[in-house]
Each structure stands twice: as structure tokens, then as C-alpha cells.
């Protein structure tokens, strides 16, 4: 059910309509959404971990992480606050690379970050070329305000599912709602099904 908003015409982005999920609009800026101050972790104190329900936890220092094979990916990103940004270019390490050879019975993952942010998603949404730990944006080191030194990139879900300032992935055998997920936002967050809030 929708009512006509008298006198509203709007502005369509016809060229990219099939790439813009319902309720979203295209922006050329790169807005920032964060619930608190931006953390600044020196690279010599940064590491990245795979832990939880795994046979053996893994950990990389910044140098070890940067020595892993990385790839450039170009994707559209969709923020739950309604903006969509097309053709963003990232460089990062595929989560497949980080989990290669890891034995686990887990179905779920919690991404955890400096500053205490967490977000949850099914493990399968991080696998098979769907997710990266990104450290460059548009050819430059990722700025702290946008999640640097490294953030998750899971472009097929709303962007709060791509944790900024990420420090590790915790593999779990149960679903554990993260920061926004306990504050009214959807547990899965598929932009094409407009899963913004609880019950969507």
C-alpha cells in the first residue's frame, strides 16, 4: 500500500535503475556511518585473527596480512541509510584465502572491530568470492573514517554488514546478533529484499 505524495516528482537515475535496490538513491559522495569515534590503531599493534569454532586459531600481523595475495574488486555498495554508491574500487584479501584449510563446524560468523563494533552473518555469505578484508579504496590506503587500516567488504549485503576497523572473524555454531542487530536492524540485511529492520 502506498499513497501518492501530492506534488512530489522525484529524480530518477534511469541509467542505473537495475543496480539500485528498492528505497535506495545513488550518491557520488562516500558518506560515513559510525556509532562512535573513529579508532586509530597503529599498524605495529594491528593484527587480524580467525578464531572461535576452528581447529586452530589463525593470526596475521599487518606485514603478514599484506603479504597475502590480494585482488582488486569493483562493486556497488548499499547503505541502510538509503545511499547506494556504484562501481567502488577496492583492494583486499579474499576471505576464502584467510579461511583456506581451516577446519570448522561453524555456520555463523561475528566480525569484530576496534572500538567494540560487531556484526553477524552466515559463514556462507563470506565464502566463494563474496567477501574481502579490504585495505585500499580507489587506489589509496583506506582512510580511518572509512574503516582503515582494514575493513570487511561484503557488498551483497547492506554495508553495516561490512565492519570497519575489523580485527577478526569469530566462527560460531550459532547466530549471535551484533551491534546494530540488537538495536533494531535486520539480522541478515539483503538490500534487494529491503531487509533494513527487524521483521522486514
Amino acid at each position: 500500500m502506498s499513497i501518492i505524495t501530492r506534488g512530489f516528482r522525484g529524480r530518477r537515475e534511469a541509467a542505473s535503475a537495475d543496480r539500485v535496490p528498492p528505497g535506495q538513491y545513488v550518491t557520488r559522495d562516500f558518506p560515513v556511518l559510525s556509532a562512535g569515534p573513529t579508532p586509530h590503531t597503529p599498524l605495529d599493534r594491528w593484527d587480524f585473527s580467525i578464531d572461535g569454532e576452528v581447529d586452530e586459531p589463525r593470526r596475521w600481523t599487518w606485514e603478514e596480512f599484506r603479504a597475502l595475495p590480494s585482488e582488486e574488486v569493483t562493486r556497488d555498495i548499499h547503505c541502510v541509510t538509503k545511499w547506494t554508491k556504484l562501481d567502488t574500487v577496492w583492494r583486499g584479501v579474499s576471505v576464502d584465502t584467510l579461511l583456506d584449510g581451516v577446519e570448522t563446524s561453524a555456520d555463523h560468523v561475528v566480525q569484530y572491530s576496534d572500538g567494540g563494533y560487531t556484526t553477524n552473518l552466515p559463514l556462507e555469505d563470506l565464502l566463494d568470492g563474496k567477501a574481502w578484508i579490504a585495505f585500499e579504496y580507489e587506489g589509496e590506503p583506506l582512510e580511518p573514517a572509512h574503516g582503515g587500516p582494514a575493513r570487511v567488504l561484503v557488498p551483497h549485503l547492506y554495508f553495516w554488514k561490512s565492519a570497519k576497523w575489523v580485527r577478526g572473524l569469530r566462527l560460531l555454531d550459532h547466530d549471535e546478533p551484533g551491534f546494530w542487530e540488537v538495536n533494531g536492524y535486520h539480522h541478515y540485511g539483503d538490500p534487494w529484499r529491503e531487509q533494513r529492520y527487524w521483521g522486514d
Binding site: 500500500m1 502506498s2 499513497i3 501518492i4 505524495t5 501530492r6 506534488g7 512530489f8 516528482r9 522525484g10 529524480r11 530518477r12 528498492p22 528505497g23 535506495q24 538513491y25 550518491t27 557520488r28 559522495d29 562516500f30 558518506p31 560515513v32 556511518l33 559510525s34 556509532a35 562512535g36 569515534p37 573513529t38 579508532p39 541509510t81 538509503k82 545511499w83 572500538g115 567494540g116 573514517a145 546478533p177 551491534f179 546494530w180 540488537v182 538495536n183 533494531g184 533494513r196 529492520y197 527487524w198 521483521g199 522486514d200
Partner: protein, 248 residues
């Protein structure tokens, strides 16, 4: 904060525009009556959905500026000249019109009287709106929470809620203005962007462990939050809400 957000599905409701108030040359407040509205918490926002005659839809989020008051809510919209939605909301829409919305949304950037004080509220431009909901709620329930509200505006004519803030000040609420672009003759207040020195003077300092809420454009929020951390405020006590320069 677990469990404090709204339970269940947020359905679209049809709100009636009952009044429109000019706030500044570029901003106005829409007073909406929302049948079935179950209330909100100070700091939360709503999603608006606008539908053109050909079915095209646009959605935007706006913070609720009013304290909980039955089925009424107030949204303050600042016009973004090249925006898609804000020119309509600040120009075309008026009393008697209807608009779809759903909410309230958000369970983190929220203050309730039971949280107590002290409060340090820092707003830039229309980022004042959710902080105004907190100040209005504080006044409505007679909360004694010591509150410092620092308002950053471009010029005197751009200051939102100026007269009301003047009336509300006192009784534990201190309102401080800074004007960043132009000042009227004889202006004796701050005349620069918010910085650490200003925040230290406005207080409360980190020793008082205030609940800090910062809302405004991204560069404003980044600068204020970083300055608060540099002053020694605990990052976990600093809650932020940012909006980008476009989209309006």
C-alpha cells in the same frame, strides 16, 4: 542496549501534516500526526517514503526533533539546494497533505531520563534535531541532569530553535552557540569551528564522565569526536550520528 529497540515489524503508516513552521530561511519543521504511533525515544529517527504519481519512490531518514507526545512528531528539514527530497519537504508540502513513514528506528543514539547526566550534546547544523528531542524531553519530565548543549551554525540566521533554546536554558541546561561563517555585529560568542579548547571550556570534562552525543555532517562529527577522545573522554561514552553532504 540489547532489547531496548522497537520490537516487531516497522510498518508503513500514513501521517497527516498538521502544521509547518519556518525555522530559518532554509529549514522548516513538519508537525505530523501519526495514527497508531506508539511513541519514540529521544534521538531516534523515522524513514519517510515519497511516491510520485508514476509510482517512483524515494526514501529518506530524518531524526525526530520533538519529545514523545502522543501521536505527534516533529521533523526539521534543512533544504539541500540540489537535493531530491528536501526541496519538496521545505517547499511544496503543507498542512492537509499526507506522507508515509515508518519508525521509530535506532536504539543506540538515544537518551532517556533514567540514564541521568551529565550530558554533553554537540550539534552541527540540522544535527541539532535529535539533540533537541533530548533537551525537550529533559524539560518535559523535569530531569535535573546537568546538560551542556553546544550548537554550531553557519550564521545567526541559520540557528535552529534559537528562541526556544533561549527559553529552555537555565536550571542545569547551558546552551552555547558558535557561528562558523558569519557573525552579527557585536557577537560575543564563539566564532569558529568546534575544537578541543572550546569543548574543554564548555565542559563537562572527562572526570565528570558525561554521556556525549554528537550529531552533524561527517567532517564535523569526526572533528568533535576526535577532540573529545583527545581531551580524555572515554570513546564508549561518545555516541555519534553522521550524515553526508548530499542526499537531502
Amino acid at each position: 542496549m540489547a532489547g531496548t529497540a522497537v520490537l516487531g515489524r516497522l510498518t508503513w503508516r500514513v501521517a497527516d501534516v498538521v502544521d509547518v513552521r519556518a525555522e530559518t530561511p532554509r529549514a522548516r519543521t513538519l508537525v505530523l500526526d501519526v495514527p497508531g504511533w506508539a511513541g519514540h525515544r529521544a534521538g531516534q529517527h523515522v524513514d519517510l517514503r515519497l511516491t510520485a504519481e508514476d509510482g517512483y519512490q524515494a526514501q529518506r531518514s530524518y531524526s525526530i526533533a520533538s519529545a514523545p507526545d502522543g501521536t505527534r512528531i516533529e521533523l526539521t528539514v534543512v533544504r539541500v539546494e540540489d537535493g531530491e527530497v528536501s526541496p519538496y519537504l521545505t517547499g511544496e508540502i503543507g498542512p492537509g497533505d499526507r506522507i508515509e513513514l515508518r519508525g521509530p528506528v535506532g536504539g543506540y543514539f538515544v537518551w532517556e531520563p533514567a540514564h541521568g547526566g551529565p550530558l554533553l550534546l554537540v550539534g552541527g547544523g540540522s544535527g541539532l534535531a535529535p539533540l533537541m528531542a533530548m533537551v525537550r524531553l529533559r524539560a518535559a519530565v523535569g530531569s535535573p541532569a546537568e546538560t551542556r548543549l553546544l550548537v554550531s551554525s553557519r550564521s545567526e540566521e541559520d540557528v535552529l530553535y534559537r528562541a526556544e533554546l533561549g527559553r529552555l536554558a537555565g536550571g542545569g541546561l547551558t546552551v552555547v552557540h558558535t557561528l562558523t561563517a558569519s557573525r552579527p555585529a557585536g557577537w560575543s560568542g564563539y566564532a569558529r569551528r568546534v575544537d578541543a579548547d572550546m569543548l574543554a571550556e564548555v565542559g563537562p570534562g572527562p572526570a565528570a564522565r558525561p554521556h556525549a552525543f554528537v550529531c552533524g555532517p561527517t567532517p564535523f562529527v569526526e572533528a568533535v569526536a576526535e577532540a573529545l577522545v583527545a581531551l580524555g573522554h572515554e570513546p564508549q561514552r561518545i555516541r555519534t550520528e553522521r550524515f553526508g553532504p548530499t542526499g537531502g
